[in-house]
Subunit: 442 residues, 2 copies
């Protein structure tokens, strides 16, 4: 018994004390409100899934290196979900005959990845997943991108703080083919080099492309794509279906006033095996944190892993809570206070029966106010200190003298004003304070 247990949470995970939990509930509340206003519907699945679900879909890195997995007592190979897409594909496949498409679905699941904890990356995190299933055309791509913008704007972010970088995988393939002029296998190899352009030294990049048969002019034509806007880029391979999709998407971004948040970026690829059309990444514009915060795009036929001959396309994005919170902190977008605008502590004295306080508490609750009676019998000063330290905004005090005269003392802890009044008047004052605070918070 002398060996004490550690009070630290497991590496890369977080404890949410009430203060952090209020931030979290506010944060997820904003997200739910924005997505639900656009008729997105929330779903969730289990934290544990069959390991085979990830082996079938994910890249190697996630399925093998980053996934927490183990066997249950019956020998089932299980994984703690490292992402939501396989689960939601399973769920859509499971009710494919009953669901009425297109679906607008979102979820805010907790998940685990075995990573080295660092800024913006933890082992346990929540990921906001937004997807539209069963719409093959640009409208769904547009809606995904506009919902991401709407989310960030709902937190108070504007175009100076973030930019949505957009490309298209079909356009990417066609542009590579148009410039390289080689067969599908040759293009595939060249694409693999292009995919790591920012991760390898320039000379290695050039060397590898040259080895695959590209000359300096071709490499320069590829380089030029990175500086082009969408019109210039589309002109590189005007017959590409991907180019048409990009032009249509940017046309509509313009017509709906979203162009100021967006740019074309040939460098947005997001891995080679998964996405099939529009791809995008949202960048933080802050100089100290100028990188992709989250992204998404169009993918096809995930549901086909579960059901024969089912072709349900999807487009969506996933946004980690840690990254998004860092963004909000960086740009000063986290409010100082959340939660109930009015919290009332009824202080307690021994010369008044406890049931008197409890009856008053009932009246406060019935009026819809947040209130409690102090638990214990410390001195008045200690009770006031407790109220301040636990986020109460008001105290209500009745001692023997007040009880005898049928009055109470209401103290506003922010202004430190204290006034003697009848219980009915107290309710009126507190309700008025609640309303004005709620208005101020909007």
């Amino acid at each position: 018994m002398s060996e004490k247990l550690s009070t630290q949470p497991y590496k890369g995970t977080r404890d949410f004390y009430p203060q952090e939990m209020r931030l979290r509930n506010w944060f997820f509340g904003v997200i739910r409100r924005v997505l639900e206003a656009s008729a997105f519907e929330e779903y969730n699945g289990p934290m544990l899934e069959s390991l085979s679900l990830y082996a079938a879909k994910s890249g190697e890195e996630i399925a093998n290196e980053q996934t927490y997995h183990f066997s249950d007592r019956a020998g089932r190979e299980l994984a703690i979900r490292p992402e939501m897409t396989p689960s939601v594909a399973r769920m859509v496949a499971g009710k494919i005959g009953e669901l009425s498409f297109p679906l607008r679905w979102f979820s805010i699941p907790n998940m685990y990845r075995y990573e080295k904890p660092q800024r913006g990356r933890l082992r346990e995190f929540w990921q906001i997943n937004v997807d539209i299933f069963g719409c093959d055309t640009y409208e769904a791509d547009l809606e995904c991108i506009s919902s991401a913008i709407r989310l960030l704007r709902a937190f108070g972010a504007d175009e100076s703080m973030f930019t949505v970088h957009i490309s298209n995988r079909r356009f990417f393939n066609d542009a590579v083919a148009a410039i390289a002029g080689t067969d599908a296998e040759g293009c595939r190899r060249i694409s693999k080099v292009i995919d790591k352009r920012n991760k390898i030294p320039r000379e290695v990049y050039v060397q590898e492309l040259t080895a695959l048969g590209l000359n300096d002019a071709q490499i320069a034509r590829l380089d030029a794509l990175y500086a082009m806007d969408v019109t210039e880029a589309a002109a590189v391979c005007p017959d590409s279906a991907g180019a048409s999709e990009l032009l249509q998407l940017f046309d509509m971004l313009g017509k709906t006033g979203l162009t100021r948040y967006c740019c074309f970026d040939f460098g947005i690829i997001r891995g080679l095996d998964y996405y099939t059309g529009t791809v995008f990444e949202v960048y933080d514009n802050a100089p100290e944190n100028n990188r992709a915060m989250f992204g998404g795009g169009r993918y096809d036929n995930l549901v086909g892993l579960f059901v024969n001959n089912a072709k349900i396309s999807g487009v969506g994005y996933g946004m980690g809570d840690v990254t998004l919170e860092n963004f909000l902190q960086t740009h000063g977008l986290v409010p100082e206070a959340f939660g109930a605008s009015c919290r009332v502590l009824i202080t307690r004295f021994d010369d008044v029966p406890y049931e008197t306080y409890l009856a008053l508490l009932d009246r406060l609750h019935e009026a819809g106010l947040t209130a409690s009676v102090y638990l214990g019998s410390k001195k008045f000063g200690k009770q006031l200190d407790y109220a301040v330290r636990n986020g109460y905004t008001h105290t209500v005090t009745i001692g023997g003298d007040e009880a005898a005269r049928g009055v109470l003392r209401l103290k506003n802890l922010a202004t430190r004003e204290e006034t003697e009044m009848a219980a009915d008047d107290m309710l009126r004052v507190l309700l008025a304070d609640s309303v004005s605070d709620a208005t101020a918070a909007d």
Copy 2:
């Protein structure tokens, strides 16, 4: 690729499709509202904890048989939390110097237990955990019990549907000692037999108590306790501190109008090693389901596992979501619909530019309404069918003709009324419908 993956979730876990998720969000929303109104503050901890946390506190059954555990890549022994109490004790201990006691804390974590799935028991579940830390006296016990009653009442349950059975572990020990008249070790052995009274045949029960030295009269005196009310029971050992606590608690339950939900029940023990004072269990009164749904009580010094010389007592309860949902279903307390009262689908025709629909959508969102544009280009009848199947309450239709005349058609899907009007009038009608629906839902 021909071998298709299963669409079933892992055994004993649930998929929450939007329909189930709406129920769930309503359900947890009611709980949060009730607890926060009483100034309880929400917290949460990580899903994975060090396995040693459970070995130290829990009974053998939970730590070894029911816990999902495994090692991470660095050899740390981890468990998926099977309960919340060890986590919250760790968190309280971790900030013991900063927190201002008493704390009113609650949490709604998801957790896992390796169980045989059955009615009311799954492998993944959520558990509403409510605790008060740092108050040694009956007021905290009363508040826990009254918050459990308040929760059930908030769902529409009344005293015909549930009963809170209350006892006291100190009283139990004193009553056993008073009747058995033997030493502490003898009482401990007798208590172990009493604890399994309902799980073993009567003759075995009598046999085992006789073997421990009790005569028929003593066994009859024990039996009599099960039929007594609190006043009669307290008279069995009037000098017991536990008897005084019971009398004080029931006195205050009477003064606050809660007696009709409560009864004294000597049979409430809740295991022998953990609770130290008041214990209670909430029973479903439905004949087909007449059993304990959840319970709790007072425990001491959990925090002492982490910090030397720290004595923080706690009183609380944990309520599983599956059990509570079964209770609500049994008593017809689950509403038929939840969520936004007004959901508007803007139907779409090819002879009107898409941006016209998106501009209208923006106006609906700015007015605070839930709305979306139909994704795709199916026939009007199919779009209407889609609206009904996806829970929309209204459709707004603009074809080329309406667009030319600056009007639209608003259809209420419940009444099937369709009216042509201007966009401003539509907003007024929808906002009025939202308000009246919201009022009806209260």
